[in-house]
Amino acid sequence: MRFLKIAKDDWTRGVEDLKKSFRVFGPVKEKEAYDFRLLDKGVLPDFSFQNTRLSPKSTVYPQSEILFEYTLDESKADHHVHKVPEKDYSPRVILGIRPCDAKAFELVRLNFDTPEYKDPYWLSAYEATTKVGLACDDPCSTCFCTSAGSGPYDEAGLDVLLADRDDHFLAKVLTEKGEAFVSAAGWNTEAPDAEAGFEKLAAEAEGKVPGGVPTDKLADKETVALHGADFWEDVAFSCINCGTCTYLCPTCWCFDIQDEVKGAEGVRMRNWDSCMFPLFTLHGSGHNPRATKVDRVRQRFMHKLKYFVDRYGRGIQCVGCGRCVSSCPVNIDIRRVARLMNEFEPAPEKCPA
C-alpha cells in the first residue's frame, strides 16, 4: 500500500493513457441521471455525481448475457455443440466506483465463486476488472453504509481508493492491480505523508453517514419466528412486486435462463431476475411456493438480512447504498424493515391451560 498524489491537471492525460491498455468505465450523465458507461476516447468520467442510478454491477454482470449459441441443424458440422461467443475479457477498469458498490462485488462473488461452482462468465469479467474507488465525502441522506458493514472510505474490493482534494486526488494504491493501473496512467508522484490526513478524512466522512439502522441482533433471531413475525403483512401491503429494488441493488445476483430460438438456431442467455416477480418461483407444475406478495417481500428481506447473515457469517447482504430506498415507487424502506427485524421479539408462548 502506498499513497500517490494525482494533480487534476494531469488527470485527463492519465485517463486517456489508460485507455491504451484498459477498457475504461466511469460515471457519465445521460438524460437525467448518472450511470456507468464505457468511456470513449476523449470522454472523462463525470465525478460530480453522488451515486449512479443503477449500480455498477452490470459492468461485470450484464443484465442480459449470452452464455452460448447452438444450432440444431444437423446438416451443420457443429450442430448440438455449445459455442461460447467471443467475449472481451481484456483488462478493464471502473473509475469512480463508490466504496459501497465495490464492497458489493465481494458479496456477489460469494455466489459466483464457490468451491463447488465457478461461474466462468462472472469470474472472467471480474478478474479482468480493476476497481478504482472514489471516496464519499458527501453521503446522501439515504446512505447507511456504516450500518451495513461498509463505509465512505471502505477499501473492500477496491484496487485503488481516490479521495477528491479540490486540485488533486489522493490515491491509496491497495493491490497489485492498483499498481498496474497507476503505472499505465503514468501517475507516480508519491505522497508519503498522506496517511494521517486520509484517515482523518475517512473519520469525518463516516461521521456524516446517517446511522440508526441496527443489524446487530439479526444473527441471534430464531429464523422460523422471524419468518412468522406479525409485521410482514403491513410491510408488504404497498409493494407492487416490480424489479426496481433488486435490479438497482449492487448485491442482488439472481438470474433467469432463457433460450431464444429462431428456426434451428438458438442462443441460451441469462437475464437478471427478481425474487419480487411471481414468475421467479413458479414451478413447471403450476405450483408457486411463494404464491403471495407477502411471501415475496418477506423473502427479499429475509434473504438479505437473515438467511445471508446465517449462511456466510459476514453481515448482511446489503451495503447500504440506499438505491432501493430512494427508488422504490411506494416507499418500502429497508432501513425500517431492518429495524423491525432487529427489534423483533416473538410473543411469549402461552402455557397450555
Binding site: I240, V325, N331
Partner: protein
C-alpha cells in the same frame, strides 16, 4: 395537518369501529420527504397513521382487485375513474367497496422538486398555500407547487371523483388544458423519426415492470410478457423486445387508461411511458367520444360495438 387528513381519519375510524368495512386503504407518511406510502388499516385505534398530502400519487385502485373483504379506499379523481373501470370489468364489487372521494389538489413530482433545488439533498418539506418549502443541509427554498406537479396532474381535467360514498371536500373547479401537445408532435414525425424517437424514449428501460405493476389496469393473472407457452416476447433488454412490451401494454390500456400517471411516477429511470397511452386516449376521444372511467355502467369502446362506431378503417 390538512383537512383531508383529519376527515380521512375520522371516516376511517367510524367505518372500522361500526364494522361497516374490514379495512381502510389510504396513505401514510413516507420515510422519505416527498413520499407517502399506501397502507391498509384494520384497527380503528391505528387510523392516525393515515395522511393526505401532495405526495399521494400512487393510484390506490391498484390495490383493490381480488380482495375478498369489505374495504374503504381513498380515491382522487383518477383513482375513482380506475375504480369505475374495475367495476365495469368485474374486478371489484361495488357493494363491498366504500369510496372516500378526494377532490384532488394535484400531486407533486419529486424528481421535479429535486431538479428545482438543483439536485441538493432534501431532508424536509412542508406545504402551504400552493407553495412547498424544501429544506436540506444548509438551505431552505420555496418552490411553487404548480411548477413541480406530476405531468399528468398539470393537464388533468377530471380532478373530482366520479363516484364516492363520502366526499372529503367540496368539488373543485376543473381546468381547461391542452392534453395532447406532445402527442401531436410525435404524430407529425415521419415514420423514421418516430421510430427513432421511440427507440430513444425506451432506451434506458430496464424491464423492471414497475410501470405495469403500478397500473390498476394491469391486473391480468399472467401478463403477456410473462407467458412462456407460447412466449410472445423476449425477456432480455433487447430494444425490439422492450418496445414490444411497451407498445402492446399501451394497446391493452386503450380506452381504459385514465392518465393517472402511476406508471410514469413508478419508473425508476424516468421514462415517459404516458406518451403512448395518451395517444390512444386521444384516438378514443376522437373516434368514440370516449373518456375512460367516467361511468361505472358503460363498457369501454374497445370491448363493445355500437352501430354508430366509426368504421372508415375497415374498408
Amino acid at each position: 395537518m390538512s383537512d383531508y387528513t383529519q376527515k380521512i381519519r375520522e371516516t376511517a375510524k367510524k367505518l372500522l369501529s361500526e364494522g361497516k368495512v374490514d379495512a381502510v386503504i389510504g396513505y401514510r407518511e413516507g420515510t422519505l420527504p416527498l413520499m407517502a406510502e399506501p397502507c391498509l388499516v384494520k384497527d380503528p385505534e391505528k387510523v392516525d397513521q393515515l395522511v393526505f398530502n401532495s405526495f399521494c400519487g400512487v393510484n390506490l385502485a391498484n390495490y383493490l382487485p381480488k380482495r375478498k373483504d369489505r374495504v374503504a379506499v381513498v380515491a382522487k379523481g383518477c383513482d375513482s375513474r380506475n375504480i369505475a373501470l374495475h367495476i365495469v370489468e368485474n374486478q371489484v364489487d361495488r357493494e363491498r367497496l366504500f369510496v372516500i372521494g378526494a377532490p384532488c389538489t394535484r400531486m407533486v413530482d419529486r424528481r421535479k422538486v429535486a431538479a428545482a433545488v438543483g439536485g441538493r439533498e432534501i431532508s424536509g418539506v412542508s406545504e402551504q398555500d400552493g407553495k412547498l418549502t424544501v429544506s436540506g443541509p444548509g438551505y431552505e427554498q420555496t418552490v411553487d407547487k404548480k411548477d413541480v406537479l406530476q405531468d399528468n396532474c398539470s393537464i388533468c381535467i377530471h380532478r373530482n371523483p366520479v363516484l364516492a360514498d363520502e366526499m372529503l371536500g367540496e368539488k373543485l373547479p376543473e381546468q381547461e388544458a391542452d392534453r395532447y401537445a406532445d402527442v401531436r408532435e410525435v404524430e407529425a414525425m415521419s415514420p423514421e423519426e418516430r421510430f427513432a424517437h421511440f427507440k430513444d424514449l425506451f432506451s434506458e428501460c430496464i424491464r423492471c415492470y414497475a410501470c405495469r405493476n403500478a397500473c390498476p389496469l394491469c391486473y391480468c393473472p399472467t401478463c403477456f410478457v410473462d407467458e412462456s407457452k407460447p412466449q410472445w416476447v423476449g425477456k432480455s433488454i433487447d430494444p425490439t423486445d422492450t418496445m414490444t412490451f411497451h407498445f402492446l401494454r399501451a394497446f391493452h390500456c386503450a380506452g381504459r387508461c385514465t392518465d393517472c400517471g402511476a406508471c410514469e411516477r413508478a419508473c425508476p429511470v424516468g421514462i415517459k411511458v404516458r406518451q403512448l397511452t395518451r395517444k390512444l386516449e386521444k384516438d378514443c376521444l376522437g373516434l368514440f367520444d370516449w373518456e375512460a372511467g367516467m361511468n361505472p355502467d358503460v363498457r369501454p369502446p374497445l370491448d363493445t360495438w355500437r352501430p354508430e362506431d366509426p368504421e372508415e378503417f375497415i374498408k
